[in-house]
């Protein structure tokens, strides 16, 4: 059973969208598996000034995606990388048993986006 907070975030997700001139883009999953999460980051002075997502997936995929963008936005890259799966789950008021696994995907996508930004910069 989903927490009230999870359902709230799922129903009214923030930061949905594509950042056209993103500094980094990260994608995980595939249509075949049933979950595709794409994270877009805008970086200025090592700070994530904007984070947006597009997610094809289940309730957990969507609610963790929006939660990750909210937790990461405004943080430094270092701070953003320190966000843990537990942080995300806690912010969502907990996730049902057996669903924890999916919850890492949104973070993975964020990490990939940051990596993409670093690769581009390097």
């Amino acid at each position: 059973m989903y927490s009230r907070k999870t359902i709230e975030e799922f129903t009214n997700p923030k930061n949905v969208g594509v950042i056209e001139d993103a500094d980094g883009v990260g994608e995980v999953g595939s249509t075949v598996d049933g979950d595709v999460i794409t994270m877009y980051v805008k970086v200025k002075d090592d700070v994530l000034t904007d984070v947006k997502f597009k997610t094809f997936g289940c309730v957990v995929a969507i609610s963790t995606s929006t939660m990750v963008t909210q937790l990461a936005k405004g943080k430094t890259i270092e701070e953003a990388l320190a966000i843990s799966n537990e942080d995300v789950q806690e912010a969502l008021g907990g996730l049902p048993e057996g669903k924890g696994r999916c919850s890492g995907f949104a973070l993975d996508a964020l990490h990939k986006a940051i990596e993409d930004y670093r690769n581009k910069k390097a």
Binding site: V18, G34, G57
Partner: protein
């Protein structure tokens, strides 16, 4: 609108059951008069269930539900003798109650052929015929599928079974109460049904066993149900099943027309208002109350949740497998494309649904699909 998963108990069924919980609580195997009342209820209920499918009273065995009925039919026919290797023919789109029993039997040393279905979800008769071997003893093909509602050519399969002297079982859990079901018309030797799918109580079902069909029990105990299904009889449940079955038969004509009208109107509006959508299953050979849509770029659970928040219950894949993240074996079997396979919902109507509800559903579906596509597709910011 998830009536294929389960249904509320009809008030008339409830009324029929109630006395058997309290005043008439006897044990049907007891000799004294409390027990005798129970024995009478048992016998009357058995005739009612038998009559509704054209069977005889002695041919009905009460079970704890559809799953157990399927298990008794399959496990009951296949030999338990070590080293005895027998063969079953079934289909790839059966319910887990049949499929998982088959894999258990394979583990015991038996052989199973899983006959494929075409893109509309109908079993290929030629494949059934070709699958017959020297050691084949049983064909088990469901009457109607629980996800996409397709109705299988059971009668034609009965021809193949008869020719080759094989037992034929059909899982009619979804078809009873939706379309006419008659064991002689269908030509089956065994037929499973479940009460809670037809406004009867949960925890009770029945297995039709044609006279002359030799079955071993799956569980052992007292001599109840001719030893084929021991355990103190669940009289209130049995009375409820019988009432539900007979109400369903009575109402079949009007109910099926009503549900088909609603369903057809739903399909028309969905195709009229939403793009990139498929109707899974066969266009005409399907249950009157079933529609199964796949929406591109939409994930089933999310769709389900949003509909739920709008007060609409549907299911994605089968209710039974909704806890796993795998996509439905039925949709995979009909060869549905990857971008559609995760975005399927089953809408299964009931007699009490109305045209207003269908209009509401169409509106909510349209909005929800749009919203989820907005979240998912890079093309739609």
């Amino acid at each position: 609108m998830d009536h294929s998963a389960t249904t509320p108990v009809d008030p008339l069924v409830m009324d029929a059951m109630l006395p058997y919980f309290t005043e008439r609580f006897g044990n049907a195997s007891s000799l004294h008069s409390f027990g005798q009342e129970a024995a009478e209820a048992l016998s009357d209920s058995r005739s009612m269930v038998a009559e509704s499918i054209g069977a005889r009273e002695e041919e009905i065995i009460f079970t704890s539900g559809g799953t157990e009925s399927d298990n008794i039919a399959l496990q009951g026919v296949l030999s338990r003798e070590a080293g005895k290797r027998q063969h079953i023919i079934t289909s790839v789109i059966e319910h887990p109650a049949v499929l998982n029993t088959c894999s258990f039997l394979e583990g015991m040393g038996h052989e199973v052929t899983y006959v494929p279905v075409d893109s509309e979800g109908i079993v290929d008769l030629g494949e059934v015929e070709r699958a017959v071997r020297d050691n084949t003893v049983l064909i088990s093909i469901m009457h109607a599928n629980n996800e996409i509602g397709t109705i299988q050519p059971v009668k034609e399969i009965a021809g193949i079974a008869k020719e080759n002297d094989l037992y034929l079982h059909t899982d009619a859990v979804q078809s009873v109460g939706k379309i006419p079901v008659d064991v002689n018309e269908l030509g089956v030797d065994m037929l499973s049904m479940s009460s809670h799918k037809i406004h009867g109580p949960k925890g009770i079902g029945a297995l039709y066993v044609r006279e002359g069909t030799t079955l071993d029990p799956v569980i052992f105990g007292g001599g109840h149900e001719r030893g084929l299904r021991p355990g103190t009889e669940n009289i209130p449940g049995i009375v409820g099943l019988a009432k539900a079955v007979s109400l369903a038969s009575e109402r079949l004509g009007t109910d099926s027309v009503h549900m088909k009208n609603l369903r057809d109107s739903l399909t028309k509006s969905v195709f009229g208002t939403i793009s990139d959508v498929r109707l899974n299953g066969h266009s005409t050979q399907r249950l009157p109350n079933n529609a199964n849509f796949s929406f591109r770029d939409v994930e089933g659970e999310s769709l389900l949740m949003m509909l739920d928040m709008a007060g609409i219950a549907v299911s994605t894949g089968s209710a039974c497998s909704s806890r796993s993240l795998h996509s439905s074996h039925v949709l995979t079997s009909i060869g549905l494309e990857p971008d559609y396979i995760h975005g399927s919902v089953r809408i299964s109507l009931g007699r009490e649904n109305t045209m207003d509800e269908i209009d509401h559903l169409t509106g909510v579906l349209q909005e929800t699909v749009a919203k989820l596509r907005q979240i998912s597709s890079p093309g739609q910011c």
